[in-house]
Symmetry: none
Subunit: 406 residues, 2 copies
Amino acid sequence: MSESLLTPLALESGSKIVLLVLDGLGDLPHPEHRNQTPLEAARTPNLDRIAPQAAQGRLTPVSPGITPGSGPGHLGLFGYDPLTFTVGRGVLEALGAGIPLQPGDVAARANFCTVDGSGVVTDRRAGRIPSETCAKLVARLAQDASRFEDVEVVLQAGKGHRFVAVLRGPGLGGEVSDADPHKEGKPIPEARAVVEGPGNEKTARIVNAFVAKAHEVLGAESPANAAMARGLSARPRFPGYRELYRLRAAAIAAYPMYRGVAELAGMDRFVPDGEGATEAIATAKAHWNDFDYFFLHVKGTDMAGEDGNFDAKVAVIEAVDAALPDLLALAPDVLCITGDHSTPVLMKGHSWHPVPVFVHGRMCFADGFPRFHEKAARGGSLGTLASRDLIAVLLANAGRLDKYGA
Amino acid sequence: MSESLLTPLALESGSKIVLLVLDGLGDLPHPEHRNQTPLEAARTPNLDRIAPQAAQGRLTPVSPGITPGSGPGHLGLFGYDPLTFTVGRGVLEALGAGIPLQPGDVAARANFCTVDGSGVVTDRRAGRIPSETCAKLVARLAQDASRFEDVEVVLQAGKGHRFVAVLRGPGLGGEVSDADPHKEGKPIPEARAVVEGPGNEKTARIVNAFVAKAHEVLGAESPANAAMARGLSARPRFPGYRELYRLRAAAIAAYPMYRGVAELAGMDRFVPDGEGATEAIATAKAHWNDFDYFFLHVKGTDMAGEDGNFDAKVAVIEAVDAALPDLLALAPDVLCITGDHSTPVLMKGHSWHPVPVFVHGRMCFADGFPRFHEKAARGGSLGTLASRDLIAVLLANAGRLDKYGA
């Protein structure tokens, strides 16, 4: 919705926007850490120096109370309503595996399993085979089960029994049911078109042929003597940043999933030399003149939250703070620091809590707050926004949005 | 909208949610009471004890600036967008009168009036007859004007000239115009189907037959020699809490209207032994193991607000606080305290002001505030939410919502 409002208002400008995402940044006051959040407990002298001149607020990634996955979390930050712009499970898995998806591709989450003599699934995880075995078996399939009709099946091994399958060929549809019984004691069902049409029927046919061929190829293996596929979905076609906002956008992320989601928004992708903010900022510096908008992704905060490790989360935040002068030296017109969702240490997982957001720019409304953290952000001038509205605030602060109406 | 998002995410869990509604809780700073609100002025030691661990915020019942009636106010709290899930006036009147409505029932607000020899209404309130007269006349109609075709007309006397009529029978429609001229000096118009169709036409026919028969039965009475009906509406069919959220929900309210609205959400209804929080909590305790969600309604705050009685509103709040330990002893996983709307003492009526909301649970974001009231709630971590989004926050805090997207 916001994009149709913003597009006719978008202005060209020489200004530059940096969106620095600390994955899973938002947290809860921790009773064993003086009721502070990691962001509050961290020593952040560089951030503190610019905090009084920044505007603070909070972002609601999807809708109040909703805990987002990484896909919806980032799509929201990029300005796409995650309830409208949905990405299938297979596509997200392929993006996470770093498989570049082309328009028309259909992706699936796949895995090895064990079936008995009558085709009934007896172990959905094939005895949890090690990843090395998975890689070997995927190589076998790549040799003997990678082409059906005019469709290529691109395979990539994952962890344990998991792999990704991407169907690439003309006229494929993405609305196809799982070739996966979802429980043991049943045979692998045939994939079916869930919406009628030759594209979906073709995809179902190819998936069924792949599953049959995989069983034929792997039949003598034990325990991984078959394969199944689920979450079939077509790479979506979203309008990109250039056409929506006249922005040349760069995505800098060490993990393929985030580059992949950014690519759906039409961003150019870059792999930094390491996982930290230092490396991401160095990459931004190297391409500073070629882009108007830089999405920098730091994964460590989310990982520390998932691990329930307060000190580790603090350490990642402090490392980002240490790198901040390099970023400020580039003099972005607008610097935004936020997260795609909260990953509270206490919860060891994603959560629904609003995410603190920090916007620094000449006209941002300087809140005058001495520090940036969840508690300060409650009272910030940005208020509590839907994540999908952030892009408008960033464009406005960058002088890139014209007046609406006369 | 929220319900279609939440339903596929709803998880079973052993956790319990209590929604304690102090009707009309929200208020304004009162210049004659040190510019405090009643909630601020009340002594609430038990609430204060748990306040620092709770999250605060505010609820907008319908939309900013909109003053809700009790129906929309509660539907919002229950998660139903009051602009989409509407309840007709007749249905609300019947629920308020405690008439259990069955699917297919059509209800109307009715009243006695005076008509002259040519059928023109000369007094819409029949000289404001006393309630006892109304009861007697309703009994007459119940005897002589309670069956038309295959439709039963269930009648219940109200205050003064008012009564409720419920049409019960096969194939009735709810979209029918009023058999009420809305002013004096005009005859009672015939009810008409406002949307074509046999159901609405049947209802119109029955209503017109009832009005004619009532005049025939009452013709010799004075001043109440006729009756009219308005606000005709069918009992709506809303998806219930069990199918929407996998919640077994109980509604505990001394007043029938609130039990009635809760019943539209599929809640089981219980009448406590008294109007206070103590009795409501005792009822919750008696059924604690049978439900996942408890809606407890306390009416006194609204009544004191309507009366413009600051001290009375304070006293009701203090009585709720005194009962709070009994509720906390049940150890609900999530305790929410809020109102369905504001009823400021200064206004002696419902108002549009956001309503303070208090959510207590292990993962709620402990705001660290020493007390709960309108002023503190402005800066709380829940922010300002639409009432209809509250259910998502409660489910999330109860661990009853899965992640959205991967």
